[in-house]
């Protein structure tokens, strides 16, 4: 019973497992945003190549060395760096507020009970079983559990003391980042839709201009690309719309976490985090499921 009481009173940081949910959702947003940038860059390159094909087809020159990436490597790096920092933040938050005690603390606590038992055995041996208090395996375990509880209590105290300030300092940055990402992904969505429509028009132009020169099988192959491009366009647009929603939820969820940290009330953020995880999870495998080019 003593062990139960000790354990039930320790380890909670006031937010419990919610930062772990935040970390999962943040990780999905980071991954999907990074994938969205990469997919948009690749699509725009493909659009320029299709346009170049038609120029060559029409007997014009095409300087393929002048292909312009939608985002330069430096511009992409500026985005991935801050997204990586967000991921690190979410993971660190999860680590310091996690309900599982650290392996180092568990090892130290176990060692305390074992050490006490060893000392007791030594005393017993020296006193010839006549003096001292024997420490049984059960008592040693209780000591270990109590030590673990004490260690967790101290760690939770540190977390509770520091977390309000840390989340309050991070929140304006998270909100600014989410606003930036919303604008950026909005632009990426416009560009992706436009590039996809360009691809379909360029493909149709290619078919129309070359119809007489293509064999029936070649013609079928080229025609079949049209619905594939359309399907890819629709899937991308839906995923980018979901990503925008997930980013907005991330901003809301972090703000709720900050409020919960100030008030030490975990209940207020549960529903928003559940929404966030649902939105994030639905995006999880989207980009891997895109039709192969």
């Amino acid at each position: 019973m003593a062990v139960t009481i000790l354990c039930s009173g320790c380890g909670a940081s006031g937010i419990g497992k919610q930062p772990a949910s935040f970390a999962t959702a943040a990780s999905l947003v980071v991954q999907n945003a990074t994938d969205a940038y990469t997919a948009a860059i690749d699509l725009h390159t493909q659009e320029q190549v299709y346009a170049g094909d038609l120029k060559v087809e029409a007997g014009e020159t095409w300087d393929y060395a002048t292909l312009v990436p939608l985002l330069t490597p430096e511009e992409l790096k500026a985005r991935t760096q801050v997204l990586d920092a967000l991921k690190t933040y979410a993971e660190s938050l999860s680590a310091v507020t996690g309900t599982a005690p650290s392996p180092a603390l568990v090892a130290s606590a176990k060692s305390t009970g074992a050490s006490l038992k060893t000392v007791s055995s030594t005393i017993q041996s020296e006193a010839g079983d006549k003096k001292g208090v024997p420490v049984s395996a059960e008592t040693a375990n209780i000591v270990s559990t109590a030590t673990l509880a004490f260690g967790e209590y101290l760690a939770a105290g540190k977390v509770n003391a520091e977390l309000p300030a840390i989340t309050a300092q991070a929140d304006p940055q998270i909100q600014a980042l989410c606003t930036l990402l919303t604008n950026d992904i909005g632009t990426i969505r416009k560009q992706t839709k436009k590039d996809s429509e360009d691809l379909r028009r360029q493909q149709w132009t290619f078919i129309t201009v070359n119809r007489a020169k293509l064999s029936p099988v070649e013609l079928r192959t080229e025609v079949e690309k049209l619905p594939a491009i359309l399907k890819s366009e629709q899937t991308s647009d839906a995923a980018l719309a979901n990503l925008l929603t997930a980013i907005q939820h991330l901003a809301t969820a972090h703000h709720a976490l900050m409020v919960a940290a100030q008030a030490n009330n975990p209940e207020t953020t549960k529903q928003r985090l559940a929404d966030l995880e649902t939105a994030g999870t639905s995006l999880g495998s989207f980009y891997q499921g895109l039709p192969a080019k």
Partner: protein, 116 residues
């Protein structure tokens, strides 16, 4: 993308939307055209409009890059604080381990003393 022009002038968003509508019309016309010369002409016109829209999007993305760059060190500052907190929590485990060393030392002394 500034969105507050002088009175009477269209906003940048309105100009973008107008070009987008034009591109949509050209795309639709091209998709329903089966004449090689006409479709090529429509494609060339659409490509010119499309390139203008791409340029506008690229300018928007470039403008955001500086803001992303500025945010990174601020996020790193917050992460540094979390790293310090993690170290403080790890120190608690170390202190308990130190207590175990004392118990071990006592045990050693008792074991040696018993031999006298």
């Amino acid at each position: 993308m500034p969105d507050s022009p002088a009175a009477g002038n269209p906003t940048e968003a309105q100009v973008y939307a107008a070009y987008q509508a034009l591109l949509g019309t050209l795309n639709t016309e091209a998709a329903s055209c089966t004449d090689a010369n006409t479709v090529q002409l429509l494609n060339d016109s659409a490509q010119a409009v499309s390139d203008a829209l791409t340029l506008d999007n690229e300018v928007d993305l470039q403008a955001s890059t500086a803001a992303f760059t500025a945010l990174t060190p601020q996020m790193k500052k917050v992460n540094d604080q979390l790293t310090k907190l993690k170290a403080q929590i790890a120190a608690i485990a170390t202190k308990i381990a130190d207590a175990n060393k004392v118990l071990g030392a006592i045990d050693d002394v008792l074991a040696i003393a018993s031999k006298f």
